[in-house]
Amino acid sequence: MVRYGMVIDLKRCLGCDTCTMACKAANATTRGILWNRVLKYETGKYPHVRLNYLPVLCMHCKEPECEKVCPTGATSKREDGIVVVDNEKCVGCRYCMLACVYASRTFYEEVRTFYPGHMTRFEQTGYDRHRLGTVEKCDFCLERVQAGQEPSCVVSCTGHARYFGNLDDPNSEVSRLIKERKGFVLNPEMNTDPSVYYLPSESGGRD
C-alpha cells in the first residue's frame, strides 16, 4: 500500500516562501488564495528570542475531519492517502473549512486578477482548473505525483527542507527521517493522523 506523505525539516527551512510561490505558480490559484503558507512565530523571551518558520499546507490526514463533515462527499480520501476535493460535487458550504484543524482550506469566492480588469494569459489558462464558489486546498500536486514527479513545493525548496514519499514503506526516505530525527505532527491531540511530518528545528531558525 502507498500512503503519500511529506516531511518538512524545520532546521533547513529558511522562511523564503519559495514553496508558497511555487505552489501558486503550479496551481494558478487566484490572488489572495494560498494553498501553502509559511507562518512566522517567535519563541523565547527577550533578549533570547528566536524567529521560527512553519510551512503549513493540507495535512492529508488519515482521519480527515473535513471528509467527515462534508455533506456532499466532495471531499474524499484516495487509496494513496491524498485528500482531494471534487469541485463538481462541492456546493461551497465551507463546513469543511471550519472542521479543518489546520485551517488549510480556502474558499474561491471571487475572481481576483492580479491587474484589475485584466486577466493575463497565465491567469486565463490556470483559472479554468478552478471552479468559483467551491473550496480548494493542496492536493500534493496530484497531476505531478501521478506522472511520477514530486510536488512543486518539494522540488522548488531552496533549502532542501521538504521530502516526499511513501509513509507506509519503512525503507523510504520519509519514514527513515521521521524515525531517525524524531519527526512530529501538528496537533497530535486531535487524532487526525496527518501525513505531513515535521523534523524539529533544534538549532534551526534565525537567532
Binding site: R31, L98, Y108
Partner: protein, 327 residues
C-alpha cells in the same frame, strides 16, 4: 509571532440568521401543535397562528443558508450524506419538516382534506412534524458541535441551548403575531396568551440555566471565546443582546403576563413588545455563538502558534496598482 486567539471568519450573519429563523419556525410549530392538543376554543386561534409561522420562518432561514452557499444550484446535493454529516442531516430534517408542516397547514385544502375525516391520521401527521421540529431545533447545535477545531462549539450544551432558545423565540413570535392579529381586528381570547407566557416563562429559566452552565464549562475549554463574549469585541452583543434582550426582558414580560391579572390592551402591548425584543435577542444568541467561535492554535511540540488566516486581504495590492496607474 503568536497572536491573540482570533474568531472564525468562515461563517457570518447569514448562517446566524438562518439558525435563528429555522429554530424559531420549528419552535412555533411545536408550540402550535402542543396548544392544539389542549382542544379548547381559546387555544385554537393561537395554535393555528403558531403553525402558520413555522413554514415562512423555516423557508426564509433555508433560503439564507442557500444564499450563503458558493454553488447554489447544487443545493440538492446537500442531502446526499445523512449518514455522516450533520449539515446533510439538517438539510434532511428541515426539508421533511417543511413537507409535514405544509401538510398540517393545508389540511383543510385539497389534496389533504381527507385528513380531516381521519383524525388519527391527522394526529399522526402532527406527531411526525413535531418530531421533525424537535430534530430541526436541535440539529443546529450538533452542526456546530461537530467542529472539533472550535472548542467553544464542540459542546453537548449547544443543542439544548438552541432547543430552549428556539422554543422561546417560537413562543415570542407567536405572541407577536397573536397581538398583531388582535390589533388588526381578529377575534380570539387572550386567555391562551397568558398560558403561552406561563410556558415561555419556564423555558426562559431553562435557557438561562443552560447558557450560564455552558459558559461556565467553556471558561477553561473555550477560554478565548468566553473572553470575547463577556469582555471582548462581542461583549455589547452578549450583555445587551443575549442577557438583556433574550433573557431579562422576556422573563420580566412573561412574568407580568403570567402572574399579574392584566386587561386585554396592556397584555397585547406587552406581548408585542416582548415578541420584538425577544426575537432580537434570539438572533443575538446565534450571532454571538457563531461569531465567537475561536479556532484552536497549531500545536508545534507544545508551542502554540496562531493558525493561518481564513481570509486574505488583498486591498494593499489594489491600491498599489491604482496608484501605479495614476502615476
Amino acid at each position: 509571532m503568536e497572536r491573540a486567539p482570533k474568531t472564525q471568519e468562515v461563517m457570518g450573519w447569514k448562517v446566524a440568521a438562518s439558525l435563528f429563523l429555522i429554530a424559531t419556525g420549528a419552535g412555533s410549530y411545536l408550540i402550535g401543535f402542543l396548544f392544539g392538543l389542549i382542544d379548547s376554543a381559546e387555544s385554537m386561534t393561537l395554535s393555528k397562528l403558531a403553525v402558520i409561522l413555522g413554514v415562512p420562518f423555516v423557508l426564509v432561514g433555508g433560503c439564507l443558508l442557500l444564499c450563503d452557499m458558493g454553488q447554489k444550484s447544487k443545493f440538492y446535493h446537500m442531502i446526499s450524506r445523512p449518514g455522516s454529516s450533520w449539515m446533510s442531516r439538517g438539510a434532511f430534517f428541515v426539508t421533511l419538516f417543511l413537507v409535514f408542516n405544509l401538510i398540517h397547514l393545508f389540511t383543510g385544502i385539497w389534496p389533504t382534506t381527507t385528513l380531516l375525516t381521519y383524525p388519527a391520521l391527522y394526529f399522526m401527521v402532527g406527531i411526525i412534524a413535531s418530531i421533525l421540529a424537535v430534530l430541526t431545533l436541535g440539529y443546529t447545535g450538533f452542526l456546530l458541535g461537530a467542529v472539533k477545531a472550535i472548542p467553544f462549539w464542540s459542546s453537548s450544551f449547544l443543542p439544548w441551548l438552541f432547543l430552549f432558545s428556539g422554543l422561546s423565540t417560537g413562543a415570542m413570535a407567536t405572541s407577536l403575531l397573536f397581538s398583531v392579529y388582535r390589533f388588526a381586528g381578529g377575534e380570539a381570547s387572550v386567555q391562551s396568551l397568558a398560558g403561552l407566557a406561563h410556558f415561555n416563562f419556564f423555558v426562559i429559566i431553562l435557557e438561562a440555566i443552560v447558557l450560564f452552565s455552558y459558559l461556565g464549562v467553556m471558561k477553561s475549554r473555550g477560554a478565548g471565546s468566553v473572553k470575547t463574549l463577556t469582555r471582548g469585541k462581542l461583549a455589547k452583543a452578549f450583555w445587551g443582546g443575549v442577557v438583556f434582550a433574550a433573557l431579562i426582558v422576556p422573563f420580566v414580560i412573561e412574568a407580568l403576563k403570567s402572574f399579574i391579572p392584566l386587561s386585554t390592551a396592556p397584555l397585547l402591548v406587552l406581548a408585542l413588545l416582548g415578541g420584538i425584543v425577544g426575537l432580537l435577542g434570539g438572533y443575538m444568541l446565534r450571532h454571538v455563538v457563531v461569531y465567537g467561535g475561536t479556532r484552536i492554535p497549531l500545536n508545534v511540540q507544545g508551542q502554540r502558534v496562531a493558525p493561518p488566516p481564513e481570509k486574505y486581504e488583498t486591498k494593499v495590492i489594489d491600491s498599489d496598482y491604482q496608484s501605479f496607474q495614476k502615476a
